[in-house]
Symmetry: C2
Subunit: 528 residues, 2 copies
């Protein structure tokens, strides 16, 4: 008998209501469907979850920060206790290598994120308590008043998982319930996280509807979710087309939505850097492009350098790297098809394939490492066609005819998460850097020097965001705690409110003795 | 000969290009058109201004904060030097009283805002420099990379003027050029500000396209402006219908937009407060409703209390206040028609007019002070119809049959800028307060105790914003410096960037010795 996994609603695992069908995940290393069936939820599941979350909202607002922080820490601890299960399951569903990727990199990053979120909750400074003593006006960031829908992406089954990743941690830490919409590529991994989370909610006596899980939605129901009156906000990481249509629906309903969709992450290699250390840069570039089979939002998709002797030599060098190894598995057939579509568009518009360009014979989903080249002239004619994100070890080299053209290329770019400039160490590229930087700076959220953009450190100063369309709003980041919490917060002001009615963070006495507050224009840890 | 005033583009006063017509402002005290003609700009003016602003963008980014601050201070000073002219002109165009309103309240507030913005620029802490020394990742808020379109409202010719008000000050202080779209009710006032601003830009040697001015746009051209690829962001204060259609266009183009449209600002009078000090509350309420003829975004439009003896007595009391004086002038015929439309809808749905309800005989635009009443039952049946903002001394009393119903009314409300709760001073309302507060708290940006919401203090903790539809995003405020600057800023991260290439705020040495920075998780004024 076909058993369909239940969804998690209001602390109960129960069958999806009027489910409109089911699906199975696929093992990307074999291309075969896995055994378990998961439901495609319809509006009834969404509404049940949103109704339940309504009751969790005041519960979470009243929860002392210490308890919320304990929950996040406990969740991290319990995830580690289940790490074998998680790694096995995620490997089966994504074909990402167990080591180092899943076990040694992504799982520790995930638990670290939860712990950083716990620390931010305990510290309380994230809410930016601002107090004017003269007028007795006080304000701070506070929970939204409705749950956050988190749509997890296909490429990070742990660190961006809808039920355990960065958006999840930020939304919970800011005091909001989460309605997790798993990525249908890895339902079992998501289910494991939700099971562990539920156990921890119970232990910490938090509202059980603080974390709920559904697995899959028809696109039209996704639109209904993100625009629902009971929803607080949405975090979406995934494809540009899905992200933009969700954004349109949410915007229209006045619901905040943070999308992180596609990014080509341009790399500019200045002439001095190439003549100084082409070998080293080639290694860095190939590693950054091929890490996790190129399935990172920060993978360098576009490399710009001059079409001179050094440039051609560099291209030949990276060609060798791209040609060598077997490519890794892609997480899904969709990713593989996405590469084909992007390549076809680039080739149709005048790019040449230098190496690769073909699907690998089965089993599983693999595509040859692919390097393309195009002249600056051709690029500038159809720049939008060459800025298509292709997950996978795929990169386009743009050979500019001179420095002016390299600057024009920078000026033509869309918004990206990151942009890197490699320059010579002795100052020989400084004049060109000074002209390029002001142009590229406005196009990217994170500007790097002499460094590839993959490997996103989870530190307070990190910005994983950027100008549209890399992100929906340039003033937020999805990575970097505590800043990432601000996406899921409302500014709330108290004017002439009596001391005992204020939230503890805004009372005269500093609630922890250590929380940073902006009192009469000065950051301080003192009481009033 | 009919002379049409020029627009301000790229530092030049020049005739509007292909203007699609002209308009004249109206003196609201007489209903007659004033002498001067102003152009209705078309897309050509918008594009000229946006192109010119492109060159001002890098210029402003490079401008040392001290110079930008000097400009804002000088602008404040020069506005004061021209105060007679400004007050006379604004009085003619808006019929707002010269004293105290224009001369003693609004003009000082406007120059104070500019000076606070100057202080924020000098202080630099607004940009929230965040530095992780271990990873050498550094980030801060920075200008958007495109100009900010500021649409000024009809009710504050100074403090929200597109070319001198709060949004203007915040956008410039954050380092962005401003394209001011004057409110067509007061073009001459806006022109005066832009003339003074241009003179100050020249004195401070700032890019002259940093401030440009147009007077009027067809709605379809407004949509093109807010969604234009060269635009940075939009700030709009005005009607809900215009605000929402601009928001839709801007959202679709991925351009940040901050709208502040309508708000009913509910006042809850708890039973103990009414039995303790009904007289005093009645005076406060009437003053708050009638100040500036009720044309404040924070005017109390909805007053909720119990339908008992005290409640009826209170209603009789405020009825007397509303009945007494002559109403002030409204700023336009549109405002007057807006009152009629709102009243008709409320009466059609079952509200009764207690006093007022009629247009006053001319000359000029006046509407009788109007008080309405409706039962809680009827209110709850059509709450959206009773939450129509009506500029003017118009307020609706909702008489709840019991405490439960008062809570239901709070739960039914849309988002508002403010919400006030009056409670008894000896604790007799505390139980009800504790039930009401969590509901009302989520509906408003600013929650007040025992205080009316008009009279918005410009202090760092102020929040002038709130849940949709009071504002477009609950995490921002349009009043309160430095927080209001964050609307016009992008988060920009520097990863492994060499010291001398970093903006001064992110270098090891604190650029002012006093700027607050978040270094390795601690707020500090120290160097690294």
């Amino acid at each position: 008998m076909k058993i369909i996994h239940p969804v998690l609603t209001d602390g109960q695992w129960r069958p999806a209501r009027n489910s409109i069908g089911s699906f199975r995940a696929v093992n990307p290393a074999t291309g075969e469907e896995l055994a378990d069936f998961y439901p495609i939820s319809c509006l009834a599941d969404i509404e049940d979850a949103l109704q339940a979350a309504q009751y969790a909202v005041p519960g979470l607002i009243k929860t002392p920060p210490e308890i919320l922080a304990d929950f996040l820490d406990l969740f991290a601890e319990r995830i580690l206790a289940h790490h074998d299960d998680l790694v096995e399951t995620a490997h089966l569903e994504t074909a990402l290598p167990k080591e180092p990727r899943l076990r040694l990199t992504e799982l520790p990053r995930t638990t670290d994120q939860l712990r950083q979120a716990a620390a931010a909750v305990r510290n309380r400074s994230w809410c930016r308590a601002t107090i004017d003593t003269k007028t007795n006006i006080r304000s701070k960031y506070a929970p939204l008043g409705g749950p956050v829908a988190v749509f997890g992406p296909n490429n990070f089954p742990f660190a961006f998982n809808a039920a355990a990743g960065g958006d999840f941690a930020a939304a919970i830490a800011a005091g909001n319930p989460v309605l997790a919409k798993a990525h249908p590529n890895h339902p079992a991994t998501s289910r494991l996280f939700a099971e562990i989370a539920l156990e921890c909610l119970k232990k910490c006596r938090l509202p059980l509807a603080a974390i709920q899980l559904i697995y899959h939605l028809r696109p039209e129901d996704g639109l209904k979710l993100v625009s629902h009156p009971l929803l607080g906000a949405t975090a979406f990481t995934g494809s540009r087309s899905a992200g933009l249509s969700l954004k349109e629906a949410a915007d229209k309903a006045g619901k905040p939505i943070y999308i992180e969709t596609s990014s080509v992450n341009p790399i500019f290699l200045l002439p001095g850097a190439l003549s100084e250390r082409a070998d080293q840069i080639a290694v860095e570039l190939f590693n950054s492009c091929s890490m996790s089979a190129g399935q990172f939002c920060t993978k360098p998709g576009l490399v710009v350098f001059l079409r001179d002797e050094n440039g051609e030599r560099f291209l030949a060098m990276i060609k060798k790297y791209f040609a060598q190894p077997q490519p890794g598995f892609l997480v899904s057939r969709t990713v593989l098809e996405g590469i084909k579509t992007a390549l076809k568009a680039m080739v149709d518009h005048g790019a040449e394939i230098v190496v690769g360009g073909t699907e690998q014979e089965g089993p599983g989903f693999r595509f040859a490492n692919t390097l393309l080249r195009v002249s600056g002239d051709v690029f500038l004619r159809h720049s939008e066609e060459f800025e298509r994100e292709a997950f996978g070890t795929v990169s386009l080299c743009v050979l500019a005819k001179n420095e002016e053209q390299a600057l024009e290329i920078a000026a033509a770019l869309e918004g990206s998460l990151t942009g890197s400039i490699y320059s010579e160490t002795q100052g020989n590229d400084d004049a060109l850097y000074a002209r390029l930087e002001p142009i590229l700076r406005l196009k990217v959220g994170r500007l790097l020097n002499d460094k590839m953009p993959t490997g996103v450190a989870v530190v307070p100063a990190m910005v994983h965001g950027g100008p549209y369309p890399a992100a929906g709003h340039p003033g937020f980041t999805s990575i970097g705690i505590p800043a990432s919490l601000l996406r899921f917060a409302s500014l709330r002001c108290y004017d002439n409110v009596r001391q005992d009615r204020l939230p503890p963070e805004l009372r005269d006495k500093n609630p922890t003795g250590k929380m940073w507050r902006l009192i009469d224009g000065e950051w301080t840890q003192k009481d009033i």
